[in-house]
Amino acid sequence: MPTSPASSGFAAPPAAGRAGLSDRWFSVLLITPAMLITLIFAILPLVQALDVTFRMGDLSRGRIGDYVGLENYRVVFADAAFWQAGWVTVKFTVVAVGLQMILGIGIAFLLHGATFAKGLTRSLLILPLATSAAVTGLFWRYLYDTQFGVMNWMLGNLGLPEPNWLGDYTIALWSVVLFDIWQWTPFVALIALAGLQALPKEPFEAAELDGASRWRVLTTLTFPLLKPVLFLVLVLRTIDCVRLYDAVAVLTRGGPGTATETMTFYLYRTGLKLFRMDYASTMAIFFLYVMLVAAVFALTPLLKQFTDRAKEA
């Protein structure tokens, strides 16, 4: 495992002589356990999946069959439902992540200024994070229910229209988004809040002396300083949203019809209901490819930040 010349930036002082091990081998030693697990349990299944994409693979008719070249890719790419699922995923991710970021940051500012019962508010805010979508999602289904749910009961009392949250194909997806917002906005909010509190005081005091407007302070100081942490959250949330499965499975099972069928849920239906592992793997590989390309662009700045800091002596 190679290390770039830069990594010797942390040159071992003479004392290291007794330690005997060179920096390079020591560093390799450190990552070995993690790498072993990752290599075995990431590469092996990946290779298997990749292999299946070139073969006939209807599991319920027994084992994996003969090689069929690129046929599976042709079938998958010609499958309208696949692109439909992709489109749903994109819609979901953009809206959910967008709202989570905006609301999360908003809540962070709200709490940042607050002085009263800080600990309590934070603690309560964390609660949704600690619960499992597979379980709480069930209770959201109950809350959403048009006959027995609390939501429509409240709306009704306020004289507002009572939507068919999960039954109306025009809004079902947004109901799932609302659930995801409920579960993950606190994550964004807490990180943003932590960021706010870690901000250095001096530049703000200076700005205040110059009598800079709130807006100017926000745009020229606060957000630029928060950018790295917010970006990291953005990336994390995007990855999770694109891979969304539990929420859909428990709330709508892709319904009504296929209105809320995300990529991963369609994968589940193809792989674990129809047992066409060939198609499922093919979709997964395509999915992985898209994610990788996105990652190359999205992660490069982050990785650069990491490596630069790792190199600086």
């Binding site: 190679p2 770039s4 010349p5 070249g69 690129l70 890719y73 042709r74 790419f77 395509f286 490819y289 990788l292 390309v293 190359v296």
Partner: protein, 80 residues
């Protein structure tokens, strides 16, 4: 070209190749009479682009290194 840079370029070339394959299967193949020629062409284009990118990156890296070497030489010259 350091191993690290090579790895980076190689990985991206691979992505480019696979990208070409996917793009081809999604948009172009339907315009071909028989899949055989389509696949052949597809691979040709994919490899060409992938390799091209790799070589391109290598040239840049070499150029950079050369430039760096010149600088170092200059510095050494100054020291003397």
């Amino acid at each position: 070209m350091s191993f690290s840079q090579g790895w980076d370029a190689g990985f991206k070339s691979l992505l480019i190749y696979v990208g070409v394959v996917f793009f081809w299967l999604i948009f172009l193949e339907r315009h071909f009479a028989d899949p055989g020629t389509s696949v052949l062409l597809m691979n040709a284009v994919g490899i060409a682009l992938g390799l091209g990118f790799f070589l391109y990156r290598r040239r840049i890296c070499r150029a950079e290194r050369a430039a760096a070497a010149v600088e170092v030489a200059a510095l050494l010259a100054e020291d003397r």
